[in-house]
């Protein structure tokens, strides 16, 4: 949607409406949430929802105008918007496009098609393939992923004999603490992260 926004922001207004969480930790959390480190409980008050929305904006540098649905979920109810949905409202305040219910029928390209029919298509060059970055060339960061097992940790050893070990607190809120030392005497292996 950000690409569509960039293409048509001179012709149409865009507004993101933040609704209740789709996969909070205290309801139906999915593995992808853990993997992507997007772990939030369902907000119980407006302040919590505002905080999560601000986290989202900050993480992605999200450029589109933002409004947050009140904790009574009035906007979500009015538009049957949960978990995600797209609408286009025309100049007269009428619904010009009503997208399908997400996730399976959420299709930003339909919005693009609507805008293109009115303002013309915006073409883009084919994306340039970026050279693959090899994390294996960075021994400090290329640690195998061990799911919660207490094993001898894997570590990389630099030429000067120091090594780095990455510890990952095995919870959804990942923190990495890198320690440098000269020996591995402990058998405490922790969940480690593959290099990013």
């Amino acid at each position: 949607m950000v690409q569509i926004y960039n293409d048509y922001k001179d012709h149409a207004d865009f507004l993101t409406v933040y609704v209740r969480e789709a996969h909070p930790t205290d309801e139906w959390q999915m593995k992808s949430n853990v993997k992507e480190d997007v772990c939030y409980a369902q907000p119980k008050n407006l302040g919590q929802r505002v905080a999560i929305a601000n986290d989202f904006i900050k993480r992605f540098n999200y450029p589109i105008a933002f409004g947050i649905d009140d904790i009574n979920n009035a906007a979500e109810a009015a538009y049957s918007a949960w978990p995600e949905r797209l609408y286009v409202i025309d100049e007269s305040g009428r619904i010009a496009y009503r997208g399908g219910m997400g996730p399976f029928h959420y299709d930003p390209e339909e919005v693009r098609a609507w805008l293109a029919a009115r303002y013309g298509a915006v073409k883009h060059d084919a994306p340039v393939a970026l050279p693959a970055t090899s994390s294996s060339t960075s021994p400090r960061t290329n640690f195998p992923y061990l799911a919660g097992a207490f094993l001898r940790p894997s570590a990389s050893v630099d030429s000067d004999g120091t090594f780095a070990m990455a510890f990952l607190v095995p919870s959804c809120y990942k923190r990495e603490i890198a320690l440098k030392g000269r020996s591995i005497n402990h058998g405490f292996g922790l969940v480690t992260m593959p290099g990013r």
């Binding site: 933040y18 939030y40 999560i52 906007a75 049957s80 949960w82 609408y87 219910m101 805008l115």
Partner: protein, 88 residues
């Protein structure tokens, strides 16, 4: 228990199992199937809005948490694309 009721219960259980397996397939795992039924289905509504209807108004909160505005304030001069969603 008569044979009829035994067969009825057996067929019902087989159908229930089939529904559960389909849900597991759709959702990806038994845990996700439970999550879908318990948390998602009660909140998913097709709604009655259709193209041509007046767009409903709603009050929204700005990112600072204190300012408010209405969806209708953003309509008028140009088409408005509304993206509903959440972080998770």
């Amino acid at each position: 228990m008569t044979l009829f009721w035994k067969w009825t219960i057996a067929v019902f259980l087989v159908l229930l199992l089939a529904v559960f397996l389909v849900l597991c397939k759709m959702a990806g795992s038994p845990k996700d199937a439970y999550g879908m039924v318990r948390y998602a289905l009660p909140h998913m509504h097709r709604g009655t809005l259709k193209v041509g209807d007046d767009a409903p108004d709603a009050r929204l909160v700005a990112l600072d948490g204190s300012d408010h505005f209405h969806i209708r304030e953003r309509t008028g001069g140009r088409p408005l694309v509304i993206i509903f969603g959440s972080y998770t």
